[in-house]
Point group: C2
Chain length 405, copies 2
């Protein structure tokens, strides 16, 4: 009997009607004889509302208590999903992350899965149940409730697929699959039939919104093939898997725009060994993920000094600013400039590494549009630039037209 | 160092502002050097909203999944309360019922506390924390989330007071204490300085709204003295404790009106041994609490038949009706009449048992008001009558004036 893990995001379980739709879809699979584990996110808007409530009480709430708070969102969704399945006469039991055997480390609000003991899930499946697992959450070996950070429900689904040795993992979302660019911004964007982990990884880390990079990394590491597809129709989605030969013919797979980054620049940092390490160790200790890092050449008279810029997720900016403030004396920089009005535009494709001139074409396209480039960073299969947020969509359209139009 | 357990109800933690007020009150006690365990209910309205959501999906949702759902209400409240204490620089940690070591049986939606292992609470208290425990919930030895039913948060507070051997238990609510009658209905009602467990028990079981009877029973059993007081001011409340000598001088302690009962009458039940047992065993098996039971004398020609009436909490009526329907063939009654438009008016007082004429005075008062009595039930320290809901408040005022005016 095939075992399928299906993950439904917040918009798919946004209200009683959509929860019933999810239940119908699950029931249809179940009627075909499949065993099914369903992973659900919190109903859309719930997590944001909880965070807003907490921040009304205290601007920087304790992360341990935030986890206690946010875990209720998914717990609500699993109970309602189980009830919706019961209403269709399908046997179903919901489990919190802790009950499902998902053990994590103790880094609250962005815990990492350490281990999954799916004993309880197997027992319930064997007993003929659809098992509904709360995404995004787990517990430490000491019994503290943790959450996995943004995109945590995808991670739950992929990790469960690996732990359960399931036959299939389906990530249901509100889009049909992975596109060459966000079709809401670029009308000519096309759906991809398949994509490699690495390309998906770059798209994910670039804010393509379909998935967070951690989940894709995890899938790559454990060889979990998964499908990104829509919960609103029966169209085939995009299969994400190991790179295959014919994929390499494609130069550029997609263009993405991340509007969720903020840029921090430390001006006039003394240019001596160990200073950069201090900065990024302090950020790492605070569990803040840094994305791009750019260090410019030294400038100024007297003691050599340099500017160091980096980007973080926008919601992390207050925390990052606090960390940077706390190491001011230790690092000796002159001032900090934070900029939330940036967009990160990226092109991604495994073929890029064997084709020269891709970067040049991208920069030239932006220049023709009169768009200034603030930061550049590249990898083997992607090129990212930081630009003015207001020009983000214009830039995305132009670059998509140049490479994929 | 004195250890205090304080319980705050849903209206006391109804929004961020009131949660901050609770935190200020706790912080003030903490500053006096007390160790404090805070038990909170779900924010007012939250539990009802969750039930509504579930019923939109399915009219009779699974009780196991209801518990999964409802437990999120208190979990949200404890996290926000902890954050509010942090904002006042008070060390605080929240614990779910499970984390607090509250073990229950597996009767979902009305589980009974079996055992409390407050190891974690003691450790956190010793570490200088205010410990905030989710009321109303626990877990089974197998790790299933359970809820304790109506008034469960009071029960949590009183059971924790016993398990922790705390010095004081304060039940904070939106009234100043226990009154001779509901002051919103009877303007002449007076606050009582103290009341015995038994009287409180009768008042509680009669819907005086201050507390559910299970909590008072538990307090009586374990000798937990507690104070019912307001979270809106610093007025002394009402102390609930073992009956003392001078209490007995008082004939009537209070008058209460329960609008939350429904009456079920089985018409023409064959009057033979074992029929009543069948009915109430079936209701018991379904974990439905029956309050008043009245059986009238046999009537009719041919096979002797009788009418049996009982009352249940209004929300239990659909379930009770289903149970009664399921035993129709087995018991042979002719028809069922359900009536939600009833009120149960009661007078309570330990002195009643040594004073004759109390019942007569009550019935006469009602007769003078032209109010018909549907059912009567009495105990040593109370007399209850079921009357038309529409005349409930009129009856309450008249009876209060007659005994306590």
């Amino acid at each position: 009997m095939p075992l399928i893990v299906q993950k439904y995001g917040g918009t798919s379980v946004g209200n009683p009607t959509s929860i019933k739709n999810v239940a119908s879809r699950v029931a249809k699979h179940r009627a075909q004889g499949d065993q099914i584990v369903v992973v659900v996110s919190a109903m859309s808007g719930v997590t944001d509302n909880l965070i807003k409530l907490a921040k009304e009480i205290m601007p920087l709430p304790s992360e341990r208590e935030l986890d206690m708070l946010l875990a209720t969102g998914e717990q609500t969704a699993i109970a309602l999903t189980a009830i919706a399945l019961h209403s269709l006469d399908v046997k179903a039991v919901s489990l919190t992350g802790a009950q499902a055997g998902i053990l994590t480390d103790g880094v609250h609000t962005k815990a990492r899965i350490q281990n999954i003991t799916p004993k309880q899930i197997h027992a319930l499946l064997d007993d003929g149940n659809v098992v509904i697992v709360a995404g995004f959450q787990g517990q430490t070996p000491e019994g503290q409730i943790t959450t996995l950070g943004r995109g945590g429900s995808d991670l739950t689904a992929i990790a469960l697929t690996a732990a359960l040795k399931a036959d299939l993992c389906q990530i249901y979302t509100d889009v049909d699959g992975v596109y060459t660019a966000d079709p809401r911004i670029v009308p000519g964007a096309r759906k991809l039939g398949e994509i490699s982990y690495d390309e998906m990884l770059e798209l994910a880390s670039l804010g393509a919104k379909v998935m967070q990079s951690r989940s894709v990394e995890f899938a790559k590491k454990f060889g979990v093939v998964f499908e990104v597809r829509s919960s609103l129709n029966d169209n085939p989605g995009t299969i994400v898997k190991e790179e295959t030969q014919h994929m390499e013919d494609v130069v550029i797979r997609g263009v993405s725009l991340d509007k969720n980054q903020a840029k921090v620049t430390l001006v006039a940092v003394p240019d001596k060994p160990g200073v950069a390490a201090k900065i990024f160790q302090a950020l790492g200790d605070a569990a803040i993920n840094v994305d791009m890092i750019v260090q410019n050449v030294s400038h100024g008279a007297g003691t050599p000094a340099t500017d160091i810029s980096f980007t973080v997720d926008k919601p992390e900016l207050p925390k990052a600013s606090k960390v940077i403030e706390s190491i001011r004396a230790d690092t000796g920089y002159r001032e900090v400039i934070a900029d939330e009005k940036i967009g990160k535009l990226s092109i991604v494709g495994v073929g890029m590494k064997s084709h020269s001139g891709v970067a040049g074409k991208m920069f030239e396209t932006l220049a023709r549009e009169g768009i200034n480039i603030g930061m550049i960073s590249t990898s083997e299969i992607k090129i990212s630039v930081v630009i003015d947020l207001a020009k983000g969509e214009q830039a995305m359209k132009a670059v998509h037209a140049a490479f994929l139009g």
